[in-house]
Symmetry: C2
Subunit: 212 residues, 2 copies
DNA sequence: TATAATTAACCAACCAGTTAATTGATTAGA
DNA sequence: TCTAATCAATTAACTGGTTGGTTAATTATA
């Protein structure tokens, strides 16, 4: 593998990689294509050469990110059989991924807070699969009698909402912990695994209220 | 009350009102001050006359919105004494307000997904009070033995995350319900009160796992 | 030589913010 | 009560900088 002066694949990948970081830092509107090109060390025209639009690039970014989290969760899911373990695995895997790739929560919250203003069509195309898995776990859990009264859509957003917010607000919570009186615990020290475990535990209580 | 050609208070109020709508629709960066002025039927310079900056206006907007939700929740809270009722009231009141004023979830999610990039200082100044109330309810609940093992920060984001996402994604979920196969229930028909009731119910199960 | 990758220079549209002049209401003085 | 002065509210026109996007020429590779 010799280092060429020209490598289309490498350029394209560099653009996507830096675009993920930039979009999640600044948001769609504030992300400048000039700055992106500068970060990549490429000419700005390259961005439009490989991706038609800013919007086209953003779609590619969202696709990439959603594919990544999807694959991580789906792959982990194979290692379980019982719905309870599947649910716990889903939550812990999402939490771990979100913590290691903090652009995911940032991008997702921004997109969802607009009801997918930028990429409405593809958003629930890609997100549907994750939700379908989550929904299926709960459904099978109910059939097998280990879950009760599950409303997948609400519970899905409960898991994603809590985890995404805990990840994105971490800097804010750290700052608050320093300034604030001691009375309020902002959970600044908690690491993501503890948080995930807590959510898993509480989720189990929620879903099997009677049969214990 | 005669209709004057000049009314400073009315102009200022018009700017804030339309700014709330505009910021929550477009986000901070994409909200144009030219368009804002056009929506208000005022000259653009008026915006900078009453509020120094775009940022200054945005801060005023966030202050207004956070004050509104705060007052609504605080006021309702006075009607209860038992922590369980207080918690239920908190959730239902926030849900109702968020549904009737959908700009709140949009603005809040956008701001939190940046860890308060635009107005970091004032954000947790204003949000702290709401969280302090929530935290206090749980604490008193634990002292009185009706709640167990509560981690206020996580539970707070669980409530806000779920409700805010359910409100902002409503159009998306409605659209998905039409296109999607029937297998996936996106909760498109649920109204906010049902959702709030569900969360309250599940929350209660979470918080009193042993003593029932 | 043909083609894919890369570049510099450019453009019109839009942006937040300014300025200096103008208009309307309020008030003080006669 | 009329008027002149004062001050707050409002405006049109402008600015310098940035934006997404284009184009035509140039380079490297096969």
């Amino acid at each position: 593998m010799k280092t060429q002066k020209r490598d289309a694949e490498a350029s394209k990948r560099a653009i996507i990689t830096h675009a993920i970081a930039l979009f999640s830092e600044k948001g769609y509107a504030s992300a400048s294509m000039d700055e992106l090109a500068k970060r990549c060390g490429l000419n700005k025209a390259m961005v439009f050469y490989y991706f038609k639009n800013k919007k086209g690039l953003y779609e590619a970014v969202m696709q990439e990110v959603l594919d990544q989290i999807q694959e991580a969760v789906m792959e982990e899911n194979k290692t379980h059989t019982r719905p309870k373990d599947e649910l716990a695995g889903f939550i812990r895997t999402y939490a771990k991924f979100a913590c290691e790739h903090p652009y995911l929560p940032a991008l997702l919250l921004k997109e969802l807070s607009d009801s997918g203003a930028v990429v409405p069509d593809m958003l629930f195309g890609s997100m549907r699969k994750l939700f379908a898995l989550f929904s299926d776990i709960l459904k099978r859990g109910e059939e097998q009698g280990c879950f009760e009264d599950a409303v997948p859509m609400i519970l899905y957003f409960m898991v994603l909402g809590t985890l995404n917010l805990m990840v994105t607000t971490k800097p804010l919570r750290l700052k608050a912990a320093q300034l604030d009186d001691i009375a309020l615990d902002t959970c600044a020290e908690c690491d993501i695994d503890e948080i995930a475990d807590y959510i898993v535990e509480k989720m189990m209580y929620m879903l099997k209220e009677k049969n214990r």
